[in-house]
């Protein structure tokens, strides 16, 4: 956060507090662990919860008594929290936090799945599929924001991408042409964002919000004028084929999820690795980070600040546009008005929750994808937990993260600040 806490403005030395990050984390884990143990344990039915490999109830990979599981994993979370509270070496902090959260999720699952079954493969592949646009959108955000341009227009880039994929993919009857034009659609919005934010110095958040509305309006307008009257000609894009890699696809769980899927999944995962390596290992990455943290210093050593920002925002637009293709070429067979319905903002949340890093964004996107998948699963089996509350999870998690309740996330120092030049 570039703006300091109001109270910190004149604070010179920060006294070491008893409730430092680690203790607060520990306390939070103990608290949710107790909730899991007592509440989930009490209401969970004492029936078998089965986590299966197949689509039906047969072939359980893992079975456990629901009530016992809920209590067991709740206790695991409490133990992880208590260890943090007691104070352990710093390097164990992340691992213990991970164990605590996984314990809580498993406890919740044991309660929900008791007496039923959860198909693991379907859950995993659904998670990845729902996370797919989030990964691409968040990556686009990473590129822009690491070089200092806030990208709130991911939603607009998704919409344009989805629209172009449907329109041009249908007219060319080619899914690949559709994918490329989706990227171009994202590029159009990114170009407007870049010109307005970098050249005309307009507030980047304002531009982003307005461009979202513009994309919503333009795609909605053209949808009603072109696609609705003649869907056959303009709105029946071919679907992205599923490719199966023989051998690798036979690995349990991971195989069908990663190696019996569509090209976009591989593209997304490849891009995560590429952007990570690019940012941390290449000249371009060093310059991008320099421009995002301290543009004046970067300029002084001869880096073209605005040029690099243009490049990163435009490449981000291509990636987010490709993410938009997911909606029309993978998820559904046609474009509808406002079909992304806020996914761009979940991608933004994933970017922030993932601390502006590619792998962080991937992890956050998968977590949010899992929450969404779980929400649909729970409403399908008639769980008493309303799906809306699970769908709130990405947003709540992001608020908790930026508020520093569980470890502060920090944006690039110059994020959102236009660079006026020497």
């Amino acid at each position: 956060m570039s703006t300091a806490t109001a109270d910190e403005l004149t604070e010179v030395t920060a006294p070491t507090r008893f409730w430092d990050r680690q203790r607060r984390l520990g306390a939070a884990l103990v608290l949710i662990g107790l909730v899991a143990t007592v509440v989930f344990g009490a209401v969970a039915a004492s029936e078998t919860a089965r986590f299966t490999l197949s689509e039906d109830a047969e072939g359980a990979a893992f079975s456990i008594n629901g009530q016992f599981g809920a209590i067991l994993f709740g206790v695991v979370t409490v133990a992880a929290g208590a260890t943090l509270l007691a104070g352990v070496a710093r390097r164990w902090q992340t691992a213990l936090l991970g164990i605590g959260i996984v314990g809580f999720v498993l406890s919740f699952l044991c309660w929900q799945v008791a007496g039923k079954f959860l198909p693991l493969v379907d859950t995993a592949s659904g998670t990845l599929e729902l996370a797919l646009p989030l990964i691409l959108g968040a990556l686009a955000g990473v590129l822009g924001e690491r070089s200092g341009v806030v990208n709130v227009a991911i939603e607009g880039q998704f919409l344009m991408g989805a629209f172009f994929a449907a329109l041009i993919g249908t007219m060319a009857t080619s899914v690949w042409v559709g994918l490329v034009s989706a990227a171009v659609g994202g590029l159009i919005i990114a170009a407007m964002l870049a010109v307005l934010a970098i050249r005309y110095l307009v507030d980047q958040v304002v531009v982003g919000i307005v461009l979202n509305l513009l994309a919503l309006g333009v795609t909605g307008f053209l949808y009603e004028r072109l696609m609705q009257p003649d869907a056959q000609r303009y709105n029946t894009p071919p679907q992205m084929p599923t490719w199966r890699i023989p051998g690798l696809a036979d690995i349990p769980v991971i195989g069908p999820v990663l190696f019996d899927t569509n090209f976009l999944v591989w593209l997304a995962l490849l891009l995560v690795v590429a952007v990570h390596i690019g940012l941390s290992r290449t000249r371009w990455g060093l310059r991008t980070r320099a421009v995002g943290e301290h543009p004046t210093a970067a300029d002084t050593v001869g880096i073209r600040v605005r040029g690099l920002r243009y490049l990163n925002v435009l490449v981000g637009g291509l990636i987010a546009g490709a993410g938009g293709a997911y909606f029309t070429l993978v998820a559904t067979g046609s474009f509808t008005k406002n079909m992304t319905s806020g996914a761009g903002f979940i991608a933004l949340a994933a970017l922030i929750f993932g601390r502006w890093t590619p792998f962080g964004a991937l992890g956050a996107a998968l977590f949010f994808g899992f929450a969404q998948k779980l929400a649909t699963y729970l409403s399908a089996v008639g769980s008493p937990v309303p799906s809306q509350f699970l769908n709130m999870l990405p947003y709540l998690a992001t608020i908790i993260a930026v508020a520093g309740l569980v470890g502060r996330v920090r944006a690039p120092a110059a994020d959102g600040q236009p660079y006026v030049g020497r």
């Binding site: 806490t5 109001a6 004149t10 304002v206 307008f221 072109l226 809306q388 709540l396 930026v402 508020a403």
Partner: protein, 409 residues
Amino acid sequence: MTATTEKPAETRQPESFVAVFLRNLWSANTVTVTVLSIVLALVIGAILIIVSDPDVLATFSYFTARPSDAFTASWDVVSEAYGNLFKGAVFDPEATTFRAAITPISETLTYAAPLVFTGLSVAIAFRGGLFNIGGQGQAVIGCITAAIAGFALPLPIVVHLLVALLAGLLGGALWGFIPGILKARTGAHEVITTIMLNYIAGLFLTWLILQPGVQDPGRTDAISKTVDSSAQLASFGGALRVNLGIVLAVLVTAGVAWLLNRSAFGFELRAVGANPAAARTAGISVARTYTLLMVVAGGLAGLGGATQVLGTAHALTPAVAGNIGFDGLLVALLGRNRPWGTLLAAVLFGALRAGGNRMQSFSGISLELVTVLQALIVIFIAAPALVKAIFHLRAARAARLGTSMAKGW
């Protein structure tokens, strides 16, 4: 887009009033930029209408042979669409009765009323250096609390309306308090937290509507009970939809103008907005100002939601708040974050919306075009340098065109 700036030879003689007026007219002042932004948006909208009309496009296929056909066809479709936009928003010359003559204005003001509140919410926050993107969520919560007070409390006629409005105000204020206190205590950026709270509010609404006691018992779809007539904002008569909401909006605009320019809190928030470090040195509690400011901003947006649900919608649906929160953002930008400017901008947006309805039903041009127009207007307003370059405007001496409020996350 490089403007060739040939400076006119400076004349030593005193200029006539007309010359001064004309020169100032064609400079980048607030009014000129606003008008030109609207013109530019309408031109781009016209191009969209033309390229999306297959019949007109057909005439362009033999453009070189008979260009007049293409021009006539384009002119016809665009003038018909914009004619209906005007007739639906301002005045229909073919109206025969008095009611038909004032219906367009009634519709315009009906759509404008909630936007005034959400616009003021964003504007006042801006003046204090906060970017309240949470108008949507605050309006949704305002809708919820106002509607529940409207159908659940048995109260006499005037009291009920006041209580329902107050409930909307408090609901929005609560939803504004969260990002405010988080900003003040932890430094969490309000843009991020308010975006997230928007979606949380929306999801909460979709859940709440289906709960017993809230959902209309006679319906299976997602709609709540209807607000009692004693809590509805009374309309001005007959079939006209315009209601007390717009009167309330004018009063609240005056109140916000007073708060901003005349009250101690207004001074503090402007000081914090201009320079938080300096304000703190001067003894103003920045944390308290941020929190209070977000509470006020949230309350205003909540009132906007209350106006929507008590004035026109009368029941909660998943889309009850429409897009008034995000539109309020555009309205505030168009109104240059000034209370009365925001009111005017809200009326313009209301007019576009009311006219857009007629354009949709009479010319078959989708209402989405209005969204495009609104977004384009605000893009040009937010980038006055762009408009200046396109029209080769002179730089105004006292241009109040803040291009950038950018502070980053």
